[in-house]
């Protein structure tokens, strides 16, 4: 098992490298922040920008070299640098917003805010998917089954941003009616709240409810279809019939014999649902005014800030790859036929 995990972790490295190279080249070629900034300066001063300013900008953002060289220096920090770049040395590179934004600091503070939301949403949507899928399968072709299937299709068709805006306004209305603040609809925690990790977490709970609900409903439907299909397949298998014939109680058959096997295909969808939740976090965070990674990436994209976008790509890629690894390990736990040796 340990060997398996180590091997899989090592296999992540080329995939992650490939993803960062592809992203870096695309984002870097698509944007030219030096030109944009020069244009901005020209607009505000009304005079042509001196060559020395251009050179200084290019030097501080490493735009005085080619794209492959820039990628290399972003990754390793080897060569002639200002000491603010080189991922392997713990430096995330300069933001085009200048010293006002330290990418490493921004990313590390925002990471936990987003991870909280994404993990909650993924777990909740998988849980709901299993529940809905199993109920649908057990009551196959009943009215419950048809209603659940239709609801699943409905949520599959519903854009997260629309559902998010709807739920946000709904929560505001509910708060007004109840005269309370159960649902916090703006921000990810009380502003200026200080405390240890646990206190911060407890403080953030009222802010988490509605966004988690949105991402959960946006993400469960696809998995629940597969859960229903795999549950049906297992329920028609011989060993479940045998367990029934032996006189095992229905609930026990479902829980111990059927559900455990039926969960295996669903484990494949956990990483997919994680990456969908990462994407969904971009949308919900901007609707609910969170200062998390999703909004950070949107700002970086809008500004054409290559190094800032790359930090997000790297983190989101790592989260997804770890999700894939966990789902592979889950396979082994759920399916006794699979052994990782």
């Amino acid at each position: 098992m340990v060997v398996f995990i180590i091997r899989r972790t090592l296999m992540m490295i080329p995939v992650l490298l490939g993803a960062t190279i592809l992203c870096f080249v695309l984002v870097d070629v698509a944007n030219d922040p030096v030109q944009d900034r020069i244009f901005e300066i020209q607009q505000s001063t009304g005079e042509p920008v001196p060559q020395s300013t251009v050179d200084a900008l290019e030097k501080s953002w490493y735009y005085d070299r080619s794209v492959p060289e820039r990628y290399w220096i972003w990754l390793t920090g080897l060569g002639e640098t200002n000491g603010d770049i080189g991922l392997l040395q713990g430096e995330w590179g300069p933001s085009i917003k200048g010293t006002a934004m330290d990418i490493g600091f921004e990313v590390s503070t925002r990471f936990w805010i987003t991870l909280r939301l994404v993990l909650f949403a993924t777990l909740a949507s998988i849980g709901l998917a299993i529940l809905a899928g199993v109920v649908s399968a057990v009551k196959q072709y009943s009215r419950t089954d048809y209603s659940l299937t239709f609801l699943g299709f409905l949520f599959l068709a519903m854009p997260v941003f629309w559902l998010g805006s709807l739920f946000k306004e709904g929560a505001v209305q509910l708060n007004n009616i109840l005269g309370s603040t159960i649902f916090q609809t703006y921000g990810s925690g009380t502003t200026g709240f200080q405390g240890n990790g646990w206190e911060v977490f407890v403080d953030s709970l009222p802010y988490l409810i509605v966004p988690t609900l949105v991402l959960m409903l946006g993400g469960y439907a696809a998995i629940s279809r597969y859960q229903r299909a795999s549950m049906l397949e297992v329920m028609n298998s011989d060993y479940v019939r045998l367990a029934r014939a032996k006189g095992v109680r229905n609930g026990t058959v479902m829980r111990r014999h059927a559900l455990r096997t039926a969960l295996i295909p669903v484990a494949t969808f956990a990483p997919l649902s994680l990456s969908a939740a990462m994407g969904g976090a971009m949308v919900t965070e901007s609707i609910f005014g969170w200062r998390g990674l999703g909004v950070y990436s949107l700002d970086a994209i809008r500004a054409g800030d290559t190094f800032a976008v790359m930090a997000y790509v790297l983190i989101s890629g790592l989260v997804v790859l770890i999700g894939v690894l966990i789902s592979d390990i889950l396979y082994g736990v759920l399916d006794p036929r699979i052994r990782y040796e």
Binding site: G18, V27, A30, N31, M158, P159, S165, G304, V313
Partner: protein, 303 residues
């Protein structure tokens, strides 16, 4: 049947009509009630978007004679927005742009994905290994970030075809996986061997034999791609990284409606939202019906 003394063999040959594979598929599809209703609704939406503007007096542009924020009336059935734009006209244009993107993405990404998957599955070995690793790389790249970054970097105003190309270039991976899985088993079949012994080139076998035989997978994924493209395009437009004003999109209309879900201008929020849901929902049901209809294990009896 005629009463003349025709040989019984002939009479039998006349009574059973030959049914091709596609006739069977069509028959099965039309038994799926939800799918048929969805197909009708989807066709109505397409007509609304593409033919509607020829029959409706207002277009999607801002006109000075249109009052600002008028409630729904006979003159403006969906109301008007702040700038003085007839929302029915805007809805037609927005639906049209979203459908344009969706159809181009569906076709483009399917062609790309089917070829990629077929090539990978056909050659196996190291070609397959390299191509699959590339798919892993694509999976790790956050879809909204890369598409948003490219769309956001377009200097001129972003048009629907920009969005269509960007979404198609990054949206084909799921089809490639599905087609590859099919091709892996198809390539071992006798008819491929026959084609090869008859002197068929690799390209000929992939395009003329393998891909047509994965048609059922491909058609279903086209429908799923349409839904996926609609949702991605509207999401990007909502975030301000997609189609931009003065052109319009369903995502932009919802973004403009903002927080009006529960106030007196609720219609600005719900109508474009329901349109997105309706398109994605009907497409998903059509895809579901097609999948059932094209599944060879399917019996003619629907329980």
């Amino acid at each position: 049947m005629s009463n003349t003394a025709a040989p019984s063999l002939d009479a039998e040959a006349i009574t059973t009509k030959e049914r091709g594979q596609w006739a069977m598929v069509a028959r099965r599809f039309f038994r799926h009630r939800a799918a048929v209703v969805s197909l009708v609704l989807f066709i109505l939406i397409v007509l609304f978007a593409y033919l509607g503007p020829f029959f409706w007096k207002w277009d999607y542009k801002i006109h000075s004679e249109i009052p600002s924020w008028a409630a729904p009336s006979l003159d403006h059935p969906f109301g008007t927005d702040k700038a003085g734009r007839d929302m029915l006209g805007a809805m037609m244009q927005a639906t049209k742009q979203s459908l344009n993107v969706a159809l181009v993405v569906a076709i483009g990404s399917t062609v790309l994905g089917a070829l990629y998957g077929a090539v990978a599955g056909f050659y196996r070995g190291w070609i397959d290994a390299v191509m699959m690793r590339f798919l892993d790389v694509m999976f790790v790249i956050p879809f909204l970030v890369i598409t948003g970054a490219l769309a956001g970097a377009i200097d001129t105003s972003v048009r629907w075809y920009h969005m269509a190309i960007i979404l198609a270039v990054f949206g084909w991976t799921s089809i490639a996986r599905a087609v590859r899985a099919e091709v892996l088993s198809l390539r071992e079949k006798e008819f491929i061997e026959a084609a090869r012994s008859a002197g068929g080139s690799d390209w000929h076998i992939i395009v003329k034999h393998l891909i047509p035989n994965t048609m059922s997978v491909i058609i279903v994924s086209v429908t799923l791609q349409i839904a996926f493209a609609i949702l991605s395009e509207t999401t990007l437009s909502f975030l301000g990284l997609g189609i931009q004003s003065p052109d319009t999109s369903l995502g932009l209309l919802i973004e403009a409606a903002g927080a009006s879900a529960f106030n007196e201008r609720w219609y600005l929020f719900y109508i474009p939202g329901l349109m997105i849901i309706l398109i994605a929902l009907t497409i998903n049901f059509i895809g579901d019906g097609l999948r059932d209809a094209m599944d060879p294990r399917q019996t003619m009896v629907r329980r």
